[in-house]
């Protein structure tokens, strides 16, 4: 007896658990990386503009 569902059917549950974990973890990793890179790029650009004495990039009209 191997669980309520036995045999090859068990692999579908294993695959679902691993796929869900990979998808959600990968999604949060990617989103966090993208948000960080974007924020740091903006901060660096603003600092460089301030040093040059100009109006901040992205805020010019």
């Amino acid at each position: 007896m191997t669980g309520v569902i036995s045999g090859g059917g068990q692999w579908a549950y294993v695959a679902a658990a691993y796929a869900l974990t990979a998808l959600l973890t990968g999604g949060v990793l990617w989103y966090s990386w993208r948000a960080m890179a974007k924020a740091e790029k903006r901060s660096d650009a603003l600092r460089a503009d301030s040093r040059r004495g100009g109006a901040p990039r992205g805020n010019r009209k």
């Binding site: 007896m1 191997t2 669980g3 309520v4 569902i5 036995s6 045999g7 059917g9 068990q10 692999w11 549950y13 294993v14 679902a16 658990a17 691993y18 869900l20 974990t21 959600l24 973890t25 949060v28 990793l29 966090s32 990386w33 948000a35 960080m36 924020a39 740091e40 903006r42 901060s43 603003l46 600092r47 301030s50 109006a55 901040p56 805020n59």
Partner: protein
């Protein structure tokens, strides 16, 4: 600890550390998942579904560990007013909630073929669900609040909420002992493990791999908050200069 209260000093460590945590974490995780799926035998009772252990246990560990860290950050913010503590607590909340949700989802997927049900209102599962709601409450409490606009610090209410929520952590841990449960009892304790060594070693790899990835996510989110704070501060200064 206060030596690292300066965000510039913190970033000098966090910037080189982030890719290392990410790279080593992914390597360990892939090695552990590969070993768990292909190199170890199925369990003699549960068969192949026992392989879900290698993603379920690290998720549980990080969901609970995440809230413990969040509560410590809340305490540090309340007592010492460490400027990075609030930022750390905010950064921990989303990955903590992610791993709690993954713990519940993978546990449910494991439960169906093993117990014949997706869900049971027993002590372990219910207290873990309470943890998920606690994370959701913390995120709702700290999104768009005054602290977020003032450098990412936590409000007094959010810090106390984090501390009070920590009561749930020992309840989750002891739930399988206190209540008769569908969930198995504690398998890994300080006295040893009831899981055979042949099945245990990939778990070490995935727990370490997921923990490093969790650390990388927290550092990335902290760096984002610090960068946003700097942009906001600079824009305020520019507006003041133009107004003067």
């Amino acid at each position: 600890m206060h030596a690292y209260a300066n965000p510039t000093r913190f970033l000098a460590i966090a910037k080189p550390l982030t890719p290392w945590l990410l790279g080593v974490g992914l390597l360990l995780l892939l090695a552990g998942a590969w070993a768990g799926l292909t190199q170890v035998p199925g369990d003699y009772k549960q068969g192949e579904t026992a392989r879900i252990l290698y993603v379920h246990v690290p998720s549980a560990w990080l969901g609970m560990g995440g809230w413990t860290s969040l509560a410590i950050a809340g305490l540090v913010q309340l007592v010492w007013r460490h400027p990075l503590a609030g930022i750390a607590a905010r950064a921990i909340a989303v990955p903590g909630m992610l791993f709690t949700a993954l713990c519940l989802a993978t546990g449910s997927i494991w439960g169906k073929p093993t117990w014949g049900t997706w869900w049971e209102w027993d002590g372990r599962m219910t207290s873990m669900l309470v943890l998920l709601f606690l994370y959701a409450g913390f995120i709702a409490l700290t999104s768009g609040d005054e602290g977020q606009r003032q450098g990412g610090t936590l409000s007094r209410g959010a810090a106390i909420y984090a501390l009070v929520g920590a009561i749930n952590i020992p309840i989750i841990n002891r739930s399988v002992v206190w209540w008769n449960s569908l969930h198995q009892g504690p398998s890994i304790t300080l006295r040893g493990s009831s899981i055979d060594g042949a099945l245990l070693w990939p778990l070490g790899l995935t727990v370490l791999g997921f923990s490093l990835l969790f650390g990388a996510i927290v550092l990335m989110r902290m760096r984002r908050i610090i960068a946003d704070n700097r942009v906001a501060a600079r824009l305020r200064r520019l507006a003041d200069d133009e107004g003067a």
